[in-house]
Symmetry: C3
Subunit: 215 residues, 3 copies
Amino acid sequence: MTQNLIMTLFGDPFAVMNTIGLIAFAFVGSSKAIREKFDVFGIAIVGLTMAFAGGATRDILVSRIPLALQSPIEISLGLFGVGLAIVLSAVLKSPDAHPITVIADAIGLAAFTTTGAIVAAETGVSVFGVIAIATINAVGGGAFADILLDRSPFILFDDFYASCAVLGGCAFFITDAIGVSGSTAAGACALVTIITRLAAVTYDWDLPTLQGVFK
Amino acid sequence: MTQNLIMTLFGDPFAVMNTIGLIAFAFVGSSKAIREKFDVFGIAIVGLTMAFAGGATRDILVSRIPLALQSPIEISLGLFGVGLAIVLSAVLKSPDAHPITVIADAIGLAAFTTTGAIVAAETGVSVFGVIAIATINAVGGGAFADILLDRSPFILFDDFYASCAVLGGCAFFITDAIGVSGSTAAGACALVTIITRLAAVTYDWDLPTLQGVFK
Amino acid sequence: MTQNLIMTLFGDPFAVMNTIGLIAFAFVGSSKAIREKFDVFGIAIVGLTMAFAGGATRDILVSRIPLALQSPIEISLGLFGVGLAIVLSAVLKSPDAHPITVIADAIGLAAFTTTGAIVAAETGVSVFGVIAIATINAVGGGAFADILLDRSPFILFDDFYASCAVLGGCAFFITDAIGVSGSTAAGACALVTIITRLAAVTYDWDLPTLQGVFK
């Protein structure tokens, strides 16, 4: 088990990014559920949904059985993130708005954009397919979590959330097309996603609405 | 047709549980839609969604074409449940809160937890995979129905609903691991699920919220 | 590219209907998002969701990788529809309620009912399977779009929307069973769907609610 964990942590780019993403998103999802005063079961469900829904959707789209259902280590990583959120909620005020959570969310977004791009590239879908699967993998969990929380998916209102995943997916495709090693493409994807996301949060970037453009 | 029905009713554990679950959940889903004053088409859609969405999600997760789309008998069982709800709605006040509906819901929950566990065990996923697929099969239909009814999925607020499916899935895994016959494991799963569910409803069990624990 | 487009436009019934449906539904979905004052990214997401979610669900149900992720032309057609909506929103008042949008929606509904029926018939599912997949392909996109817009899927309240797809699916199955050519069955399906839909909108058809029947 510990050995598996070590292998996972220092294995291929997919395993590393997947591990980081699962813990980060399970933590963020659970923090949202805690804010909504869900019971412990609801907290675990929302956390695991945010951690696994994006990847499961990715696996379903490329018609394979979701990884999360096959490897026991995946679920333990998710539960670890849920546990972190519960522990921190005891010490932090409004854990879901805390900088730690905002940063964890950006990290998860970058990690899952990368895992999505890696899987899609292996499946041999179109350019759009790679970017779409990377984006769905990255934002799908948050969207499902919001539906469980009965809110309109925030990804539609936070202009530079899904956009960052799209940019990261493009970065992956371009570096990959140039023919550099998979790890380099993965790194470029993760970097572009997290940097644009953190910049968007810091400088509060906005995309125009048509009402702003035409009226 | 009648012959098929008899075969289905007295066939393997999967067929028995599947038949019971489809009728029970179609009945419960339609009763909810009637309460919301949906038209007859909406009533049928919500009923069939509650009956089939969980199993379809299960089949998609193990990458196979949903049973409901392949066997004509499945849909007739679902429509039978919808019909029951429509007939009873003429004689009962608030059919969706009536004891008959509460019990039908517990029966459907137990039946679908079992069918999910049986299918998952055949697919050879991890322990978590078996419990997750059993739970998704059991609560997926109700969650989809609630989204169609534009409500936050009740499974997140009713503490001992999905929890009962999780316990039933554990019971299946343990009895199955001991090496007893499939039918025994199926029976154990169904019993644990329905007993915990009915007990939870009767004694109004609750899980603690973190606000209750920490504040 | 232009060549591909021409081939798509004058190819087999599936390609023709698919092209029409993608542009029409992307246009309708984007118009809804513009009405809700979403930013340009949100407008594109809702438009593409309405255009692709139904077909992706269809492909997932028959366990194959969604077409939209494999062919670059699919996405360009969707983006063309999004662009149309943005341009028209500059000249039309309330584009989402405009007759152009209502007609485009009916056209998309008919086109996707047909593509769904064609794919389902090739997969060899049951009669119900053909009608169900045709209906899901036709209304799935709109339902997903409404969930993103945080509204209860209108298909449950607009009595003759999904019903038209069901009727179109039946028309396809009957003509197909008679043994006429695929193109004829496709044409019959599309005609029945669009005529019933436009008639329902024009004459404001309604299905009874049980409250109307029993009370």
